[in-house]
């Protein structure tokens, strides 16, 4: 699969029909997930209706982490095997990952308002999510600052790998840190005890997020490939060669 993806022409061909498929899937899953989440699942006994934010919030959290893992993997593949597509994928994945992380942060703090009475709590998960968000930003900013395509790809990949080493350490250190000073009087996140009736909508939404990511990724990759072809052509014309 990967190997057949490796060549752009094939990729363009495959993605051309993969994309609408995922798009359809995303629409369906979102429809189901949202309706389940809004109408066919109970309000939380202590968090009330606001618990429904969870269906937006949690999948965003999960997938933003998964996306960084993918970004790091793609970067590794690109550095080792020089698959341009891996680089294209990494480049396209970053903004989506940042968006998911941002969504998690925003919905989280929206959620925090009713449940904790504050917009933000320095809780381990929140903090490491924030760091993840920053890591995405750094990667994007670096690539934006390097106008030499080739360098941007390879230096970006190196940074992505460094981040992959760093994030687990951050996660651990932050967990350790939060146990060090237990956040003051707040309702802890209901992580452990999710009522089964919340599972269905949660996982449907998770699926929807995944499909949405796939669509956005493929679209981003295709756009990037077109852009590269265009610039190459433009350069040739400009140089009159």
């Amino acid at each position: 699969m990967i190997s057949s993806f490796a060549n752009p022409q094939k990729f363009m061909a495959i993605s051309a029909w993969l994309m609408p498929a995922f798009a359809a899937l995303a629409v369906v899953l979102f429809a189901i997930g949202v309706s389940l989440g809004l109408w066919f699942s109970p309000a939380d006994y202590q968090q009330g209706e606001s618990v429904r934010i969870m269906y937006v919030h949690v999948p965003a959290a999960w997938w933003s982490m998964a996306i960084y893992a993918m970004l790091a993997l793609a970067s590794f593949v690109f550095l080792v095997w020089r698959h341009t597509l891996a680089d294209v994928a990494a480049r396209a994945a970053a903004p989506i990952g940042a968006a998911y992380a941002g969504l998690c942060l925003v919905t989280g703090s929206l959620w925090g308002r009713p449940t904790w009475g504050t917009w933000w709590e320095w809780d381990a998960r929140l903090t490491s999510m924030l760091v993840l968000f920053l890591t995405f930003l750094g990667y994007i900013a670096l690539r934006a600052a390097l106008d030499d395509e080739d360098k941007a790809s390879r230096l970006g990949a190196i940074l992505a790998l460094a981040g992959a080493i760093n994030l687990p350490v951050v996660h651990f250190s932050v967990e350790w840190w939060s146990t060090l000073h237990q956040p003051s009087s707040i309702i802890r996140e209901g992580g452990s005890s999710i009522h089964p009736s919340m599972m269905a909508p949660l996982f449907t939404m998770a699926g929807a997020y995944a499909a949405a990511f796939a669509v956005l990724l493929l679209a981003g990759m295709r756009a990037e490939i077109y852009r590269r072809r265009a610039t190459a052509a433009a350069r040739k014309r400009a140089r009159g060669t």
């Binding site: 106008d147 030499d148 400009a238 140089r239 009159g240």
Partner: protein, 209 residues
């Protein structure tokens, strides 16, 4: 290099200008570069500064441009009110911003130093039109030098102070430089250049440091 491009069209004659360097002594870091140097030149002249490395050519040019204080002596311009608005200084460094492209530089100088030939025509003149959208970062040595030369073309100023203008230029580039100098003198412009090699254009005066 066709000389029928952009520039000449508005090549009206400069008001007569005259530079006099009187008994100038220049010290740098407590060490005397040259003493009681005197010469004077007028529009149309081409003064070449010669001397070994470290003789003080760059220093003298920067002094004439008003960047270096004289130890003793005086440098005066006649025919221009503010000297720094009447001169071009082409130094060892080209003054390029790696991140900005060729055209951006030409346009920037045109508005900063005085509107003359428009940027496009100027780039055409120095032979960079084809790569107008390349960032300066990736320009070759000679391309950068040519870009610096566009300053002379875009902003018409009577006095040119050129510090080893030919450095890094290929033969065609050197021809361009000669042509520019010739035109400038024809317009009543004054050229003072620190040089190590010879240009085809004959100097009217040689100052040796």
């Amino acid at each position: 290099m066709g000389l029928n491009l952009g520039v000449d069209k508005e090549a009206e004659h400069f008001a007569p200008v005259r530079l006099s360097v009187e008994a100038v002594t220049l010290e740098r870091g407590g060490h005397v570069l040259f003493e009681r140097l005197s010469f004077s030149a007028a529009g149309g002249d081409f003064v070449e500064l010669r001397g070994p490395n470290g003789a003080g050519k760059t220093s003298l040019l920067r002094a004439i441009a008003g960047f270096l204080k004289l130890t003793t002596g005086a440098i005066t311009f006649e025919g221009v009110e503010d000297a720094q608005l009447a001169l071009h200084l082409l130094g060892h460094r080209d003054g390029l911003k790696a991140a900005l492209n060729v055209e951006a530089h030409a346009r920037y100088w045109a508005s900063l130093l005085g509107e003359g030939a428009d940027a496009g025509a100027a780039l055409d003149r120095v032979g960079l039109a084809r790569i107008a959208d390349l960032p300066a970062r990736i320009l070759s040595q000679g391309q950068s030098r040519r870009l610096a030369l566009t300053r002379l073309v875009t902003a018409p100023r009577p006095v040119w102070l050129l510090d080893e203008p030919a450095a890094g230029l290929d033969t065609q580039g050197k021809d361009l430089l000669d042509a520019l100098i010739a035109e400038h003198r024809a317009r009543g412009g004054l050229v003072i250049a620190g040089l190590h090699e010879r240009l085809t254009e004959e100097a009217t005066m040689t100052v040796t440091l």
